[in-house]
Amino acid sequence: MKPSYQKAWFFVLPVLVLVAFNALIPMMTVVNYSVQETFGNNLFFWQGVDWFEKLLNSDRFHAALGRQFLFTGIILAIEIPLGVAIALAMPRKGVWVSVCLVLMALPMLIPWNVVGAMWNIFTLPDIGLLGYFLNHVLGVDYNMTQSPLAAWMTIVAMDVWHWTSLVVLLSYAGLVSIPDAYYQAAKIDGASNWAVFRYIQLPKMKRVLTIAILLRFMDSFNIYTEIFVLTGGGPGNSTTLLSIDLVKIALGQFDLGPAAAMSLIYFAITLLVSWLFYTLMMRNET
């Protein structure tokens, strides 16, 4: 049990001040805008909760929210099992481990707009490697700027390319922490591969997997730059996820009130889901 020591607050004070400066002041600005209407010239009028009511009843918001949940759902369903499978197949020892880890981590260190630009170049129908291969070798009609389905498959492929490695790294760390004795005991008992996975490896990875899901949920829910550069939210509105719609309203149309209200609802949803994950994680720990 940790001792109680109130002066520990002084240790956290710098963190508190710096994060509060960045979090509280902007948040108050957003709350302020969300209840007012502006016609420019710094003239603001009290609006109450009108923006929230309008937003919660707007089809545009529902559509963006739906697309957002669909996207997050799809990439979690692909990245988590795929990441675990790759981590299981990785060698445990030797020089290849470092090589594998370095190469796998590379996509995560590329600036997000470069990721978008890179996938754009990669998928151009006639001169991109993937686009050319699909159109001219496989004979599939693939054009991201015209077909919503192609656009969706491309953004999903991009996210899988970008972030599966995070799941691999975390799962791998969980796997290498299992002592050899566990495997030897399983071998003596004649356990099948599945039994080893289900009763030894999976329980050991539970903690890191929770973190992986939490991080992937938060980051995919907030995704903006990559998709904006790749598809610009199109064709039509088909890949306009929440952040893209939000930036369109806030910086494109400069509708500060609705954008602020949308920000708050958006943040509240992320917070709620993450809090559920977090409490589950903490409960498992004790």
Binding site: K2, P3, S4, Y5, Q6, A8, F11, V12, P14, V15, L18, V19, N22, A23, I25, P26, T29, V30, I86, A89, P91, V97, L101, V102, M104, A105, L106, P107, M108, L109, I110, P111, W112, V114, A117, M118, I121, F122, D126, I127, G128, L129, L130, W161, S165, Y172, A173, G174, N222, Y224, T225, V229, S243, L246, V247, A259, F267, T270, L271, S274
Partner: protein, 265 residues
């Protein structure tokens, strides 16, 4: 184990394909790119790189990015160290609530903060400075650094602290001479993640800068749209942004797997 080793190899090939294409594109002339498909550059050209290395708006983009990313990493680690120590060693009023509140900032969508950040940093006269971007990125990097470091510190037995104090070490001396070296791998991993998230973030960095502190990623988007379809130049600039990340990851390659395993992350 041997028969399954093709899975990581195929995965790595999949990861390398778009990167290969970007690098190959950066050595092609604009004419070759637009004239049709070619797997390798037919006529190698270094013109795209020459443009970047001779034009100050391009290469200053790289310096700007590296300056604010380094500032951010250093500040994040320095303030996160004592905080993580407090969370791992003591209970205090509101500690759990504070920890969760810190994490919520990691969850905030950057798009939500773009406009208020612009107004805040304009109001305090820091707009278009490196320190503004470094400070803004603290929003998500400090919580992450505290989270990672707290995990590593909790893995160090309390007896280490107690023995040191009995031996007559003052707190600052104990922290710098004994404690820091013990959690060295953790500091490395935390610094790596701070570097990574600050390096790859663009929305806030772009919002908070105009000329003097403009990050390379923002220079790229502007050039891509204003100069039409200069794919070769874009590809060369993109290729160069991969290099700093690759260098950093090379240094922490041993600590990454170990770091995750030891720490709570």
């Amino acid at each position: 184990m041997q028969k399954r080793s093709w899975v990581p190899i195929i995965y790595i090939l999949f990861l390398m394909l778009p990167i290969y294409w970007l690098v190959a594109m950066s050595f092609k002339t604009t004419g070759e790119i637009l004239s049709g498909f070619s797997l390798f550059p037919q006529t190698w050209t270094f013109d795209n790189y020459r443009v970047i290395f001779t034009d100050p708006t391009w290469y200053w983009g790289y310096f700007n990015s590296i300056i604010y990313v380094s500032l951010n990493t250093v500040i994040s680690i320095i303030v996160a160290l004592p905080a993580a120590y407090a969370f791992s060693r003591y209970r205090f009023l509101g500690d759990k609530q504070l920890f969760f509140w810190l994490l919520t900032n990691r969850m905030a969508p950057a798009a939500v903060f773009a406009l208020p950040f612009f107004q805040l940093y304009s109001a305090v006269n820091l707009f278009d400075t490196h320190i503004a971007v470094a400070l803004a990125h603290l929003l998500f990097n400090i919580p992450l650094a505290v989270w990672i470091l707290e995990g590593f510190m909790s893995g160090v037995p309390k007896e280490l602290d107690e023995t040191a104090f009995v031996d007559g070490y003052s707190f600052p001396r104990f922290f710098t001479k004994i404690f820091l070296p013990t959690i060295g791998a953790g500091v490395g991993v935390a610094a790596f993640f701070c570097f990574m998230f600050s390096w790859v973030e663009l929305l806030l960095a772009k919002t908070l800068t105009a000329v003097y502190a403009k990050p390379i990623a923002a220079v790229m988007t502007k050039t891509a749209s204003s100069a039409g379809y200069e794919l070769g130049l874009l590809a060369a600039a993109g290729t160069l942004t991969i290099i700093p990340g690759a260098i950093v990851i090379y240094f922490v390659r041993h600590n990454i797997a170990k770091g995750f395993a030891l720490g709570r992350v």
